[in-house]
């Protein structure tokens, strides 16, 4: 499958890779240069492979309270957004996602590309079994461009002529003509995600490019989110892991009356005690990768996401390790034991080292 920006990527000489069935740009020039552009200036990403879905109807709020792990009722006013997870009945993570409140009855959610079909089947099945009055509309007519970095907001304000964006806070959103602008992202920098009709997308992309916003591929997207300590679904999270095991306890709202999908299993898991945690590791002299084995003071663990941090100049990783693991650890990198250190993510905040 191709997004509305596929021709733009090819014309920019992107290295194209298959990602969840989509032909996506891995990098246009250098992943490290693209990474630094976002940390220091502004970069843009085509994330149109993700699926925008609208939930509308008199029961949209009770429905989302059923299928999501956070209290969506906290989105009291139009435009507010929150990050949450959708769980299976075992409390495992099907997807992590952002919910935006569009108006009194309508919410917008963006599903990850790799699980978009699974997610649609899941919410459709729950709508049928609960018989709540909510219409669920996948919006494959919409593209998403993420514009991220310290100069992102001002550039978007100037280009799209939307001065009111300056007054928005992170985790809010607004409509601007046909464009939906969420002040959200996946890089740890300030910025927006612009959800726009496919027909307008190439023009907006070109305008941003002409305004010196650097096109960034999936390679930089991964190093940026990893430095920011953000999870990637399918790597750091899975249907076999609860939010307790994915450093996402903070998204849970376990108010008994909620009765959301997975809540009972989570309460049981909490009673029994959680054996592992998702944490960070930093290491010099090698690059940690997903699947590598970690030996900690409290036993074995596994790297779930690892790469090189362009900001810090050494390798950073997320790892699932025994709950009591702390301090120095040993990571098996290509048959050699290398010494790393367990730290609490994020690794980078506002372009500076953030871990101890």
């Amino acid at each position: 499958m191709k997004t509305a920006l596929y021709e733009n990527h090819v014309n920019l000489n992107a290295q194209i890779v298959d990602f969840a069935g989509w032909q996506m740009p891995m990098r246009y020039s250098s992943t490290i240069d693209e990474h630094h552009a976002v940390r220091n200036h502004a970069g843009m990403f085509d994330v149109s492979h993700m699926l925008t879905v609208d939930f509308d109807g008199p029961d949209s709020l009770p429905f989302l309270q059923k299928v999501l792990a956070s209290d969506v009722g906290k989105l009291a006013t139009e435009g507010q957004a929150l990050y949450t997870a959708m769980l299976n009945e075992r409390g495992g993570i099907i997807d992590d996602l952002i919910v935006y409140r569009l108006n009194e009855t309508c919410f917008r959610i963006v599903f990850n590309a790799g699980v978009a079909d699974t997610d649609m089947e899941w919410v459709t099945a729950w709508q049928q079994s609960t018989a709540l009055s909510v219409s669920i509309t996948p919006r494959r007519d919409l593209s998403i461009i993420a514009v991220q970095g310290p100069k992102a907001i001002q550039t978007v304000i100037d280009l799209l002529d939307c001065p009111q964006l300056i007054k928005t806070q992170p985790f809010t959103s607004m409509f601007h003509n046909e464009l939906f602008i969420g002040r959200t992202g996946y890089t740890g920098e300030d910025g927006v995600e612009i959800i726009c009709p496919d027909t307008q997308t190439p023009k907006i992309w070109s305008q941003l490019y002409d305004a010196d916003v650097i096109p960034c591929g999936l390679g930089a997207r991964d190093t940026l989110r990893l430095e920011a300590g953000m999870n990637l679904n399918g790597q750091d999270m899975s249907p076999d892991h609860t939010p307790y095991e994915c450093a996402l306890t903070w998204v849970l709202d376990l108010t008994p009356s909620r009765d959301f999908v997975g809540q009972t299993a989570l309460e049981e898991a909490h009673r029994q005690g959680v054996a592992t945690k998702l944490t960070g590791i930093v290491l010099q002299g090698g690059v940690m990768r997903s699947g590598y084995e970690v030996q900690s003071n409290a036993g074995l663990g596994t790297i779930t996401s690892g790469s090189f941090s362009p900001t810090l100049g050494y390798s950073v990783a997320l790892a699932r390790v025994p709950r009591a693991a702390t301090g120095e650890c040993s990571v098996l990198i290509r048959n050699k034991q290398r010494t790393g250190k367990i730290v609490r993510p994020p690794f980078v905040r506002h372009g500076e080292k953030a871990h101890k």
Binding site: T31, I32, G219, G286, F308, S315, R334
Partner: protein, 133 residues
């Protein structure tokens, strides 16, 4: 289009080899290979004195994206390694045929260079690989 200097010999695992006047062979990775790997961020160099066989793993190059083994094009003993790469691994990207050389082998016997690909043969090989992608 990647550069493939005529005076060098190549392998189908994308190393280049240069026979120097002192009889040693200098080894690095090709421009085509560095471009495919992307930003190189770490290199694990061999120890000098290591005996290597042609085709054996000698070094590891880590790019942002992935780790790749570097194989020795010829049999012999590693006599020098490029320690500049410890601080500046990206020399492999910026100067693959000059400052980005990786190690030097004293060949076990002569004539091994003749077994390697010529620039022309290597270019054809890269074009066929490109078409597979």
């Amino acid at each position: 289009m990647s550069e493939t200097p005529q005076e060098l010999r190549y392998t189908d695992t994308h190393e280049w080899a240069r026979l120097d006047p002192d009889g040693t062979v200098c080894v690095g990775i090709s421009d085509f290979a560095q471009d495919a790997l992307g930003d190189v961020v770490f290199i694990e160099l061999p120890e000098t004195g290591t005996e290597v066989a042609a085709g054996a793993e000698v070094a590891v190059i880590e790019s942002v994206k992935a780790a790749s083994d570097i194989y020795s094009p010829i049999s012999g003993e590693v006599v020098r390694v490029n320690s500049d790469l410890v601080e500046e691994p990206d020399l492999v990207n910026s100067e693959p045929y000059e400052g980005g050389w990786i190690f030097v082998v004293q060949p076990l016997n002569d004539d091994q260079m003749a077994d390697l690909l010529t620039a022309e043969q290597y270019q054809e090989f890269c074009e066929s690989e490109d078409h597979d992608h």
